[in-house]
Symmetry: C2
């Protein structure tokens, strides 16, 4: 799958059904919750230093589901509390949220919950202490430009930067055949070239990410990037590889079944 | 239907199916096309006078379908041509589009066509003459605040301001019964109080619309509002009332059928 196809087709499962991302993202919520105090501290520090009248916060890889708006809710509370500490006599800043994900993301589902979100926000804060909150969607790949020049104060990306812009081309040999037989990740049987291929693609993608963000973030702006990591130097560890190996086995089973089915039809 | 319900539930039919707005909006396209030269002239005049490095254009009631992006395409071309006339030696401005409609609008459908839209844009303009274009969605009712303070240069609303914020309360008598029996619009049998009820609701809504926009538009900004009108002083004319009367008759038939069905079941 090349970059263009991936941008067009890839997305978390939309809606609120049994298999939707909205109902299967507790792991992602845990990661975000574990790092929440860091995210909010850095945001408050930024507010203390810059005190903008209009604060722009971008969530890159926002997906759709309860996590999207729950982060926004926490951020609003954190800004209100920093404002009260720093400049309580002045009016609250306007809060602008830019939600980003690939164009196939289910933004409709987020939007449908916005009227209730705004109502709850008004209920939770006293009416005269309720800031103006504007929520916009900016669909596109974060490996390209997303926002106008020098507009964003705070960028937040949780569990999204491990999605590369494309399948690393070095995973295929000269004949276009995979060099990583039977695996969809760096597994124990993978040759060294596989981890090198992923590493080189990540390096290229992450450099693009930083380059484009450098155009969009205002001077003094901040970023919090929550990315998948591993505990030791070894590429293969239970924490990271477990799900991918289950997925690889399921895919292999599926392929085998289709193969048997076709053979039965043809023979 | 009160204001809150309407904001939540009301939208054009999404997707690209047979009954979708995308495939049933040629009338709306005609109105917009007829007024296109005015829209683009006013935009070019604005650009000539203000020459912003980053131009923000909002489409209020953008709906989903080919009309949404075709307007954007025309606007981009108009700005490029005004730029070439005025300040050809300077870099093109950034173009930011804020698409607005109610939260139930099918923004996903618009977003899915964006990768192709950007590709076509690059193909149509020479690569070094291709401006940066950012397209964002801001869902919400235009009878409330939509955008941050003093951010929008040009507001465009085509065929959307005839949708009121709610059913005019004065259409009901003290017992909550409709005073406009058998009609869903101002028809020839409507009492005078009906047109007064619509007029008073429009006045209230349009005042809110202008008030909120006055907060959002920058000094020197412009608006083009394409609204349904009529040729003569009489409320009932074929141009406006024709579709509504067909709709009223269809609704009456539907209600009669349901009534007969229930009576058959109950008897």
């Amino acid at each position: 799958m090349d970059k263009r196809d991936l941008e067009r087709e890839f997305h978390m499962t939309g809606g609120v059904g049994k298999t939707s991302y909205a109902r299967n993202s507790s792991l992602q919520k845990k990661a975000s919750d574990d790092a929440k105090h860091i995210t909010l501290e850095i945001l408050q520090q930024l507010y203390k230093e810059t005190k903008p009248k209009s604060l722009v916060i971008a969530d890159l890889g926002c997906s759709s589901g309860p996590n999207t708006l729950s982060t926004i809710r926490d951020i609003i509370k954190a800004v209100i509390s920093a404002h009260r500490r720093e400049i309580p006599s002045q009016p609250l800043p306007e809060l602008n949220f830019f939600l980003n994900d690939l164009p196939g993301n289910d933004f409709n589902s987020i939007f449908k919950t916005l009227p209730d979100f705004h109502l709850e926000l008004k209920r939770d804060t006293n009416d005269d202490e309720s800031p103006s909150v504007f929520i916009a969607a900016y669909p596109g790949s974060f490996y390209g430009r997303l926002f106008p020049e020098k507009t964003v104060h705070f960028i937040y990306a949780s569990y999204s930067l491990h999605w590369l812009s494309k399948v690393p081309p070095a995973l295929y040999d000269d004949q276009g055949k995979s060099i990583n037989k039977g695996c969809v990740n760096i597994c124990s049987s993978s040759p060294e070239a596989v981890s090198k291929a992923y590493y080189s693609q990540f390096k290229e993608d992450f450099s693009s990410f930083l380059w484009f963000r450098s155009k969009e973030v205002v001077a003094g702006g901040r970023m919090v990037l929550i990315v998948l990591g591993r505990k030791g130097p070894d590429h293969v560890d239970r924490g990271n590889s477990f799900f991918w190996e289950l997925l690889a086995r399921s895919l292999a089973d599926l392929v085998a079944q289709v193969y048997i089915l076709y053979r039965n039809i043809l023979e």
